[in-house]
């Protein structure tokens, strides 16, 4: 009998430990190839629980832009500089709500009045209080 791929694995801790090592990781479904980002136990596209770790390329596209405002701003976010919240699609296919740096109200207007969405972004490892997380940056040529 083959060994079950279902493991009581510390995926969350590993994800954050990988960020400490400079790697941004997700889980790829061995059956259908879907990449779950951030990583989880089972594939939400086909339901398979046979998953493997994968390093994501970091390339992505931003599909929507919402600017921070009094209700959606916290003092600790000031270190992010100018940023927006939005729907980011990573190159491997997953979509997630994320922070995208490098977008001011003026930049948003330029994008919307120019070539429009989506625009290219790339992932960065960002230090928060006590742990590292993932944010995205607008590509310089955008």
């Amino acid at each position: 009998m083959s060994e079950s791929p279902i493991k009581l694995e510390k995926v969350v801790e590993t994800f954050y430990e990988n960020l400490e090592k400079g790697k941004i990781t997700g889980k790829r479904c061995k059956k259908c190839g879907t990449v779950e980002f951030p990583p989880v136990y089972a594939c939400n596209s086909c339901g398979s629980w046979d998953m493997e770790w994968v390093e994501i390329s970091g390339k992505g596209k931003l599909h929507s832009m919402v600017m921070p405002a009094p209700l959606s701003m916290k003092p600790e976010y000031k270190d992010l500089g100018k940023f927006c919240y939005g729907d980011v699609e990573i190159e491997e296919g997953a979509h997630l709500n994320a922070v995208v740096r490098g977008i001011s109200k003026k930049k948003r207007r330029e994008i919307l009045e120019g070539k429009g969405l989506p625009v290219n972004v790339h992932a960065s490892i960002y230090q928060r209080d006590g742990y590292k997380t993932v944010v995205f940056d607008l590509d310089e040529d955008q």
Binding site: F15, V66, L71, S72, L96, N97, V99
Partner: protein
């Protein structure tokens, strides 16, 4: 590749279930008034439950089981088992119950749970109630005193709605709740900034107009009256002014919930047993035709939109009802944009045109496409878990022609209610007056 959304096939109930009684407290700031300061969870839930039983014509001993909903029992009430701690207040001592919490969607799942319990055949008559003190927290180790909850404390605890492993860390999902739906609507329908701003403002104006006719609503002064008092000739000029500041990228202060205290309850029974339970009551039972539900954890882009699309698909598919058959629509609009987005996704308002209906006042209680005839979360108030059943209370009164000054011109026969909340659940259902 689009956002991944798994879909569910919903099947018809094993037997028909109908609403026979509803009860609701006023939505209020209990701590602010001597006559309400000191009210407890048992008193609030108990009042709503007994009013629902009285309305239905049933005795507490007729009721087989009860559901209890509260969004934040630990923080707000210092309760771990809130259904048991209020068990002796409404004549059902010893009967079984269960507590559920889906945050702001609790009062909508309250119907789902009750109907399933009867449709399964296990129980014939069920109470489902919800209570929330959204404006105050229990003073620890005191039997009834409460203290006001600050906005800072409220926001601290609402952060608990979001996944600790990833969502809070990534910062996107929890902060998009205020403006994501507005951004989506504006972008996909091609509105200008001014058109989007006016649409949000008119939803607030219409909600307040509806609440001004509802004695249970927490805010009943119309925006026209407020604008006049502040020296504005035109209500929309007031709504665009610094008196109504931007709190989000699109959202203004008027578009935020009025968090408050309240309770509401409903009695449902097997439709073929209404004569047994209702006795000499003469109002028509209202059948729950079906429920659709979905959930998108807040990391999922456009969580409200995507989950609403799926839940609405389910409820139309299982009931066979068409959007044009819906006579009145309710949306849990603690962020006012929900009201527009939900109504348009449900096909109650035409695609891309809903904002015009709103700006023309057609969605007020006396318009041809009424939404949230009780005033919704920005004017009726938001006692988080209880709001869904308060909407049902209003829908039932409209459908019976008992909504008083706020009665729709044409008594509605079919209603859709769309719940939303808890980062984020969607639960939507269709009810219809039986012939």
């Amino acid at each position: 590749m689009d956002v991944v959304m798994n879909k569910t096939t919903v099947h018809p109930y094993s037997r028909s279930v109908s609403i026979i009684g509803v009860g609701c407290t006023p939505f209020m700031y209990t701590v602010d008034h001597p006559e309400t300061n000191g009210l407890t969870e048992g008193e609030m839930y108990g009042y709503a439950a007994l009013k629902a039983m009285e309305d239905a014509g049933v005795n507490p001993q007729d009721v087989d089981f009860y559901f209890h909903g509260e969004a934040s029992p630990l923080n707000n009430s210092n309760y771990l088992t809130p259904n048991v701690q209020i068990a002796n207040w409404f004549g059902m001592k010893g009967k079984a119950s269960i507590h559920h919490s889906e945050a702001c969607c609790t009062g909508y799942y309250a119907i789902e749970e009750a109907v399933n319990a009867v449709a399964s055949g296990k129980y014939n008559c069920v109470l489902s109630g919800c209570v929330e003190f959204g404006d105050s927290v229990a003073v620890p180790d005191h039997p009834y005193k409460r203290s006001k909850i600050s906005m800072e404390e409220f926001l601290r605890t609402t952060a608990w709605l979001y996944d600790r492993s990833y969502t809070r860390s990534l910062m996107g999902g929890l902060n998009l709740i205020y403006d994501d739906a507005a951004e989506w609507y504006k972008r996909t329908r091609g509105l200008t900034d001014q058109e989007m701003d006016d649409t949000l403002n008119w939803m607030c104006i219409n909600n307040r107009k509806n609440a001004s006719k509802n004695p249970l609503a927490i805010a009943r002064t119309t925006y026209e009256e407020i604008a006049k008092e502040k020296g504005f000739d035109n209500v929309i000029d007031y709504m665009r002014s610094p008196y109504n500041p931007r709190m989000g990228d699109f959202l203004r202060a008027s578009g935020l919930e009025l968090k408050c205290d309240g309770a509401a309850a409903v009695i449902v029974c097997a439709t073929d047993m209404v004569d047994k339970y209702m006795g000499n009551k003469t109002h028509k039972p209202i059948e729950v035709l079906g429920v659709g539900a979905a959930a998108c954890e807040a990391t999922t882009p456009h969580f409200e939109v995507n989950a609403t699309i799926e839940a609405v698909r389910q409820v139309y598919e299982v009931t066979g009802v068409k959007p044009e058959e819906i006579d009145v629509f309710y949306a849990n609009d603690f962020i006012i944009t929900s009201h527009l987005v939900a109504a348009e996704i449900a096909g109650y308002l035409p695609y891309g045109e809903g904002w015009k209906y709103i700006c023309e006042g057609r969605t007020a209680y006396d318009g041809d496409k009424p939404i949230n005839t009780n005033g919704g979360r920005t004017s009726f108030g938001h006692a988080h878990a209880a709001s869904g059943l308060a909407d049902l209370y209003e829908a039932v009164h409209q459908m019976r022609g008992e909504a008083g000054e706020g009665q729709m011109k044409k008594i509605p026969k079919t209603a859709m209610l769309r719940g939303y909340g808890g980062a984020q659940n969607i639960c939507t259902y269709i009810i219809r007056t039986e012939e």
